[in-house]
Every structure is written in structure tokens, then in C-alpha cells.
């Protein structure tokens, strides 16, 4: 083949530009730390990266959902603990009142204490997590327990204003966890036939009234009702505890999954620095060699050797 100077020049230019281009690619990878910066770099990896990004982001959301659920459940849990301890106090007060040794002044005092506990329980029942009443079902903006008071400010009736709605938090793809404990079930305000007429506040108000009226006849029978009510609250608390356990396990699994996915993403997306550095220096060597060769090849023509 006949070779001309302009062919040589063009070839040199072409090759140098190719070398520069591959150096630029390598440099770009090294300086961004990413092996895939645009879809055409690796179409298959691109769709995997996008779906991993989505999964990781969702996983993060589920984790924060679980944290919120956890906060909701722990608010519920401590309210239930308070409720149980209040009920236990009532139980000892009733036991004290029912033993027949108390005079009417003592019973009045006991009744006053029960009265105090009733308002504490109403407060506990209107517990708030963030901005939500936790025991009102999905009626989260109105206090679930409304009270009617007499002229002295004593509570004479408590009504449930919440509903039976469930608040579900999605804690993993397709897994919904009801986080709220329903006040209607908890306080037995509407009466649960299977448990007898154990409306918590009606029972307590009856106890208080009996004590204040110096009427001890029904007090001992009230003990078993208090027992039923306490058992009910405790079983609700156990359910909350079980959910908290489940959340803890799920949160650990979520973190593990997250680590796995982040590693997978890094493998797909991030550049292997060692390999890229080696490739870069190879390419830069080639480029330098090309420059040196070009400088030597371009200069001489016959003109250099002809003397006039």
C-alpha cells in the first residue's frame, strides 16, 4: 500500500484521539467513583441499580415506619402499664373496703382515692403519641374518653368517642401491622357480653359511689370484675409486647437486607479503584508511547535529507 504523509498524520490524530477518549473514560470512572454514570455505560446494570435504589429507599422508609410503630407501641405499652397499676391500686382499695372493718369516714377516703384513680385512668386513656390519641381507633384527633362530671367536678360517666378503626403501618413490602390498641376493647366501655358487664369506668364509678355511700354489700363481688378487667388489660398489653418483639426482629432483618442490598448496589455501581487505577496508568502509558512515536514518525521526509 502506498502511504502518504497526510495518511500518517490522520492516523496519528485518530489514534491519539482514541487513546485520549479511553483515558477520559478511565479518568471519569476514577473521579466519580462510579462505573455506571449513564444508562449506555451498562444497560443491564442500570435497571438493576435503579431497582436497588428504589428497594433501598423503600427499605429505609419501612425502617422509619417501624421506628414510628415502635414509638406508638411503647406509648401504648406504658399507658397500659399505668392502667394495670391503677387497677391494682383499686383492687387493694376495694379489698380494704370490703373487709368490713372500715368506718364510713374511712370508706369516704377510699372512695376519694378511687375517684382520683378514675381521673388518672381517663388521662391515661387519652394518651397521645405525637399528635394522635392512641386509644381512639381512627378518631385520632378527639380524646377517646369523654367525661361527664357533677357539680363537684367528680366524674359521673365516661363515654368512648373513638371508633373501632385500625391504624395499620406497613412494615415490610405487603406486611401491615395494626399498631393501635382499641379503646373500646380495652376499657370495655360498650360492655363485652362474654366477660359480663365489666365496663371499666362504670365498675369503678359504682365502686366509688358504693364507698362514698357507705354501701359495702357489692364491694366483694366487684373484686372479681376488677380481676376480669385487669386480665383484659394485661392480655392487651401482652399483645402489644408481642408486636414490639416482632418489630425488633423485623428491624434487624431490615438492616441486614439493607446491608446486602447496599453491597449489591456498590458492586454494580461503584468502580473497582485498584483495577481502574491500573487501567488508567496502562492507558496513559499507551498514550505517552503514541505521542513519542508520533513525534518521531511525523518529522522526517526526504526533504530533510536532500541537499541543494
Amino acid at each position: 500500500m502506498r502511504i502518504t504523509q497526510s495518511m500518517m498524520a490522520n492516523n496519528v490524530l485518530n489514534n491519539l484521539s482514541n487513546d485520549l477518549q479511553s483515558m477520559q473514560t478511565a479518568e471519569n470512572q476514577l473521579s466519580t467513583g462510579l462505573a455506571v454514570t449513564k444508562p449506555s455505560d451498562n444497560p443491564l446494570a442500570t435497571s438493576q441499580i435503579m431497582s436497588l435504589n428504589t428497594s433501598i429507599s423503600m427499605q429505609g422508609m419501612y425502617y422509619s415506619n417501624m421506628q414510628s410503630a415502635s414509638s406508638f407501641l411503647s406509648t401504648t405499652d406504658s399507658a397500659l402499664t399505668d392502667t394495670v397499676s391503677s387497677l391494682q391500686q383499686v383492687q387493694s382499695l376495694v379489698t380494704e373496703g370490703a373487709n368490713g372493718t372500715e368506718n364510713s369516714t374511712d370508706l369516704q377516703t377510699l372512695g376519694g382515692q378511687v375517684n382520683q384513680i378514675i381521673s388518672e385512668l381517663v388521662q391515661t386513656g387519652n394518651a397521645i403519641n405525637g399528635s394522635q390519641y392512641v386509644f381512639g381507633g381512627t378518631q385520632t384527633t378527639t380524646p377517646p374518653l369523654a367525661t361527664t362530671t357533677d357539680a363537684d367536678g367528680n366524674i359521673t360517666a365516661v363515654t368512648y368517642q373513638g371508633n373501632s378503626g385500625q391504624i395499620n403501618y406497613e412494615v415490610a413490602q405487603g406486611v401491615q401491622m395494626p399498631v393501635n390498641t382499641n379503646g373500646a376493647d380495652l376499657f370495655q366501655v360498650t360492655g363485652n357480653t362474654s366477660m359480663g358487664n365489666t365496663n371499666m369506668f362504670n365498675t369503678l364509678i359504682t365502686i366509688k359511689n358504693d364507698m362514698e355511700n357507705d354501701d359495702t354489700t357489692d364491694l366483694s363481688s366487684m373484686l372479681s370484675q376488677i380481676d376480669d378487667i385487669t386480665t383484659n388489660v394485661e392480655s392487651q398489653q401482652a399483645a402489644v409486647g408481642a408486636k414490639e418483639d416482632r418489630l425488633n426482629t423485623a428491624m434487624t432483618r431490615n438492616q441486614n437486607d439493607n446491608t446486602t442490598m447496599t453491597t449489591a448496589l456498590s458492586n454494580l455501581q461503584d468502580v473497582d479503584i485498584d483495577q481502574a487505577s491500573v487501567e488508567f496508568s496502562e492507558k496513559s502509558n499507551v498514550y505517552q508511547a503514541a505521542l513519542e512515536t508520533a513525534a518521531k514518525v511525523m518529522t522526517p521526509t526526504l526533504v530533510d535529507y536532500l541537499t541543494t
Binding site: 502511504i3 449506555s40 526526504l302
Partner: protein, 596 residues
Amino acid sequence: MSDLGLSIAVSALIAQQDSLNVTSQNIANANTTGYSREQAEEVTNPSIPVPGLNSSGSPGQFGTGVDVQAVTRTRDQFLDTQYRQQNLLLGESQQQSDALSQVETIFGATSSTTGLNSDLDSFWQAWNTLSQEPENLPERTTVVETATTLTDDLQGTQSQLTTLQSNLNSDIGLDVSHINDDLQQVANLNVTIQSATVAGLSPNDLLDQRDNLLDDLSTYVNVKTVINSDNTATLSIGGATVVEGSSVAQLAAIPDSSGNNQVGIDLGNGNSDIMQWSTLGGALYGLQQARDVGVQGYVNGLNQLASTVAGAVNSLHETGYGLDGTTGIPFFVNGSDASNPEDPNNITAANIAVNPNIVNNPQQIAASSGVTQSTTTTQGVASGTAQVETLAIESGVSENEALKVVVTAAGMTNSPKTLSVAVSSGDSAATVAGKIQTALSGDSDVSTFFNVTNNGSDVVLTANTPAANDSTMNVSVDGLVAPGDGSNALSIFNLNSQNLNFPTGSGTGTISDTASNFYGSMISDLGVASSQAGNDVTNQNTLVTSLNNSRQSVSGVSLDEEMTNMVQEQSAYEAAAKLVNVIASMMQTVINMVGG
């Protein structure tokens, strides 16, 4: 004898000078694009017979020197044809690759924090957060904000794509005028080439210029070239002759009904025949493919994404209830349809917007799945007749809640009148009707105007006085929304992992996939297409470069060669001059002999 010798020497001097001129021209044009190296064709002059003692009249031949008969250019037409064929494909793939890499830039990188994919993620996640605290305004505002970001990005991406399309469209127009320019120049050259050829000259430089133009044309459009015997070139595109001799048929970019340029050729009858794009080939075809197939595919894809997601979200949203009891409104609307902004039909990526009512009042976001009662009756009442309204209570309630009862009637004091009626879990329809009756009877405004009765499942309102005018009355019952009920928001969130039915590009059938997978595979397809187009360009470039090298190998100027020629020509010239010198001295000798 010496006369002949002298004239041979002179012819040699002239011929070597001519050759040296050619060499000089070659060296001068060593770097001129499209220059074909020239060769001086030195030919021996015809010999003449010289009678001699031994030849008795039969011709003893003497040469009469040398003459430069022609200056020819070295060019291989076959390589030209091959080069132009491949250059045509290069032009086409170059345009497609350029357009696709711009689309890649428009769609943004694969980054986790920007782009439509993360917009979609944030949008879904905002619904999830809302489902947990639907009574809170900040969560509602976040849904509106993320949705607005999503719609803004959809609109922005779409408008960048359509801008790219219109740039490609105007590039077609620019290319057409460039082609016309080239065709005109070819026709002009045809004229001068023809006259030079007829005069017996070889117009090498003009031919080179014309070949240059044909090379240039081959980037843009598929031109068939026929070189006629008078050296003029006849060019045709897709069977239509565009240059013949000095006449030119102009190409025209003609916008169709949607403003997309088509290419037509005016064949002199005043009408432009629209050409098939595939017969045009080259950059024109590449631009059209990029405009109508490449970029359009992503425009369609975005529209399908926008309309499908909007449709799925809307159909759930319309069944739900806002904090203020609003129901049946779409979440996404067609933002460009000002006369009917709530028309959710024909939502595309270019016009998708969040319902302005929801933007103004995020309480209307239907996070709640609903209420237990929703009954409305409206009745026109003619003047002078008693107004009777029957409100059918269809079912009991399963939750403790407050029903909102609204009574509107002409003539009633404080109309419309809104009452809240508390119902309890387990109430039957009859109980609910009874409670509504009690509440209405208990309201002095309503009971003054109406006599309210209850027949077991219906509440009947009968006006005490006939209507004074033609009027309309209306009674409605709505369950109040439980503010903490986020179940509809959760359902909308769950759309993120559900397979939605996306229409296919061809318009028939559907693709069932999640929204982010649909988008992901669109981007993945873009990556494949763009990297393929890039490879096509690289391969085609290699081919074109190597063909050009082959052409250069034939036509290019080698300085070494020219220098060698120069030395040869110089030596021959010196030798011929020496010859003149010798002949002169020989003649001197003769003269001296005579004069002696």
C-alpha cells in the same frame, strides 16, 4: 542532425519543466482536502524516418523528443463509491447516536437522589407516611409537594424531549438547504467541466471539487451519481433526477399537519413529491428516525407512565374521603385543560398536574377509605306544592361516628343547616333513621319549617307550608371521616408494588408491570439503544476511515515521491541543458572548421 538534436533537447527541457510544475502543484496541495495527485504523462514524440547511405530510403527512425501529453489525476472511482456508501450509513448512525445520548442526558443519571425514579419513590413514600398520620397537615402537604415534584419533572422531561424533537426537525430543514446548496454547486461545476472537456482539456481541479461535493452530499442523503461521456454528473435521489447538466431540482422541507418536516422534491411541475425517508438515507434518515422513532418512543413511554400512574392513583383517590369529607375528586388532573381542569382523561406527561383544589386545600386528599353512610337526595319543588323529602337510610353503622346531616330548603331559616348526629357501633338502619329524626326534630329551624317523621328506614321531611316559589331542596347525610383513617392512602402507596397495565407502544395490548419497573426498563432500553448506536458510529467510522485511507493511498500526495520526482526531473533537465551545451559546442567546432 544537430538541428534535430537541439529540438529534442528543447522538448526535453519543456517537458521536464512541465513535469516539475505538476510536482510543484502536487506538493502545494499535499494537504488540500479532496485533492487528487496529478501525473504529467510524458510521451515520446513520433519518430521521423531519415534516409541514409545504408538505408536506401527505408526509414531509419529518429526520435523527436518528448512531450507532456496530458496531466491526469489519480483517482479510483470504485473506492469513491464505496466510501460514499459507508459515509451515508455513518451520517445516519451519527444522528441517531447524538440524539440518543442527548435523551440519556435528559433522563439524568442513574443516581438515587435525582431523576424520575427517585421522584416516584418519594411520591409513594409520602402516601405511606400520610397513611400513618392522616390527620396531620404536614404529611398532607408532603404528599402534595412530592406529587408536584413528580409532575414538574414529568413535564420538564417531556418538554426537553419535545424540544429535542423540534431541534431535530429544524436540523432536517437545515440539512435540506445544505443539500440544495451542494446540488446547485454540482450543477454549476457541470457547466464548466463540460466546456473544458469539449475543448479537450482535463479539468482536474474542477473534478476534484465536484468529488468533494459528492463526498459531502453522501453524509446527508443517498445520491446516485452517473458520470456522462462529457464528464457531467447526473445525480438522482430515490429515482428522481435532481441534477442533470446545469438544471437542478430543489429539495424542500415541507411540514406536515403536526409540523413535522417531510422532504419533497420539486420536479418542475410545481408540486413537491414527498420522498420515502428510507430512500433518502444518510443524516436526513437518521434525523427522521431519531425524531419519529427514537425520541418519540421515550415521549410515548413517559405519557404511558404519566397516564397509567395518574389513572391508578385517581381511581383509588376518587373512592376515598378527605379530612373534610370531600370525595370523588381526582388527585391528578389534566393541567392544560383550563376549561375543564378536573377532566382526568387524556392525562399525558406534558399536562399532568396535581388537582389545584388539593394543592389549595390538602385536607381534600382522600387518605380515608370512607364513611358508613352517604346519602343525598335532591328534589325540585314546584311553586304551591308541599315540599316532601324522603331520605333513605340504607344500612346500619359499624363504628361510632358522627354523621353530618345537611338540610337545604328555600324558605327555611338558616338554610343550609348542618347538624351532627352521633351514631354508635351496631346501630341498625332503623336506629340511625330514628337518631336522625330526633336530631332534626330537636333543631328549632328545621322543626319550624318541616314536620319530621320516620317510617323505619326512611326519614321523611314534610314542609309545613307550601313552597312560595319554584325551589329545590336537598337533604344529605354523610358519615364524618375518621381523621386517623389512612387506609386509602395506604392502598395508594401499595400501588407502588402492584402491576399496573401500561399501554404498549403499538397501542394494542398492555404491559403489566410496576411503575418503577416500567420506567426502569424504559431507561434500560435507552441504554441499550444508545450504546448500540454509539457502537454503530464507532464501527462505521472505522470503516469510513479505512476506506478514506485506501483513497488517500491512491490519490494522496506523498512528499517522498514528489521529492524523488523532483530530483529526477531536475537531473533530466540538467542533462538536457548539458546536451544543448554540447550541441552548441559541436556547432562551434563546425563553424571554426569552415572559418579556419
